[in-house]
Symmetry: C2
Amino acid sequence: MNKSLKEENKLTQIWVDIQSYLERELKAVDQLIYLRLQNPVFLISEISQHLIWAGGKRIRPLLVLLTSKLVGYEGLRSINLAAAIEFIHTATLLHDDVVDESPQRRGIQTAQIVWGNKASILVGDFLFTRAFECMIEDGSLHILRVLSHSASLIAQGEVMQLETLHDLNMKESHYQEIIEAKTASLFEAACHIGAILGGVSPEECEDLRQYGRLLGILFQMTDDILDYQEGEGGKEKGIDFREGKVTLPVILAYEKGNEEERDFWKRTFCEHQHRPGDFKKAQNYLERHNVFQDIQNKLLNLSVSSKKMLEIFPDSETRKLLSNLVDFILRRRF
Amino acid sequence: MNKSLKEENKLTQIWVDIQSYLERELKAVDQLIYLRLQNPVFLISEISQHLIWAGGKRIRPLLVLLTSKLVGYEGLRSINLAAAIEFIHTATLLHDDVVDESPQRRGIQTAQIVWGNKASILVGDFLFTRAFECMIEDGSLHILRVLSHSASLIAQGEVMQLETLHDLNMKESHYQEIIEAKTASLFEAACHIGAILGGVSPEECEDLRQYGRLLGILFQMTDDILDYQEGEGGKEKGIDFREGKVTLPVILAYEKGNEEERDFWKRTFCEHQHRPGDFKKAQNYLERHNVFQDIQNKLLNLSVSSKKMLEIFPDSETRKLLSNLVDFILRRRF
């Protein structure tokens, strides 16, 4: 068996283990999501159900379930709150997907774009209110505070990202700030909720939050690197490149690039002029400056740090799965 | 003094009376809004402040303040909750303003549209989370439930409206359902909050909610009719007509129209083919079938019913102002 196949099997095993460990709870979360999305307004059921069942990995609900289990919580509140977190996540996806009216979209039917945009926004809003209804039903103001703070950070992070679109001079620290807000804050909130449900000590709570935060950063950074890597998965590549979204790979390559390369990045990112073969060229530049390897090293450090945060808790099956989840997110190719 | 000038002076007087009666509270609401919109992310402060200070009438905050006063509440929670309601309203405005990529927009710079769309959505999301932060700070789960239910109805109403865009066969009852959800629910929630703050009886609570609901319907129906009426105000006319948004005036005119007129409505609303002079023609058709007068009669009935809901409360300055507010909304020309 070759190395990459072995690696892939290991990843699949991690995923299967987590899924079977949480089988009952995940099924309950899905049932609750299904119930809460029943709506007399056709487009709402249609769009929200479509996105919710489109094969998302449910990583954020997983985190609520696993962390609450880790700290000994055995009730049902985690189901409801896991659904709330998935609603928030899906709402942000819908709002993030709003079509940029960029030149290459011009070929598409106007009406379709309009319908899609408006509907995405409004159904996103609806999901957002559903999330709050779940939390209000739960009744903990503490948890409401945690999740609404996170939702606020997500919006701020997305706006920061919008402000730096096409900005090749963005610093790595600013990139970091953006992904902490737009992605890591919800991972952190998911683990924070687990901690609150278990009623843990302040130190344990802090470590669980850190675990979530670091995992979230790891998640977004692997996502950003995968957009430039040839992978086996079905996910489309080069989306950030085409949108002009400056992410860590480009920041590093631009910093290290010679004059010719910088002109290339400026043309593609700032002037939005794309020619055939540009994406391949971008990938080559990233290779040339060892950008993939550099980021991979950062990711390894992050994975070690996040696993460390679990050490405060006694060894258990749940702790092992949370630790394996870090590897899963680090090594996934999709 | 001619009749219309006298009428206008009366309206101005109503407005001035309300503003001076609530001067202290309204100032406090504005200060709180200002504070809560301070944000290190430039675009967030910029866009949200711009819209919030763009001269909105603050009718929903007014309702929280007046109704809570009516039922004897004297504390400061109404300030915070009035701000929350204004945040929700502004968020929905931002999301509602997302540019339809309709043909006549094609002349505009692409980048500008993109920036506007994405930014509107995300800043709207941010305002929405700010609203929830205000409510969570207030700490009443009851009020959280009322407002999140209303926010959910608004989203549902907006989606329903999207589904019926260009639908000339829409029934009046469906139009009613849409405006109750997208507009009246927040008016009702504002008054409901006032009632909760004052700790009133179930009957009084119900009547205050009804007052708000009827006022909200009145508000939206006058808004929809004003879009077709020549007015003195600076507000642009014919927006619904250009967007193909079917509202009550068009429903009634289409029902009563002859074949030629129906062809006209189909061409402009369904096929979206507009020619010079079309809007004037639309106005003439509405006149021809007494549509303005018919709706005016409905509005009068609504205003009587909503004022009736105040009769359960003893006579007071506040009650008089709430009653006058109905006239203000009914008679305004902007």
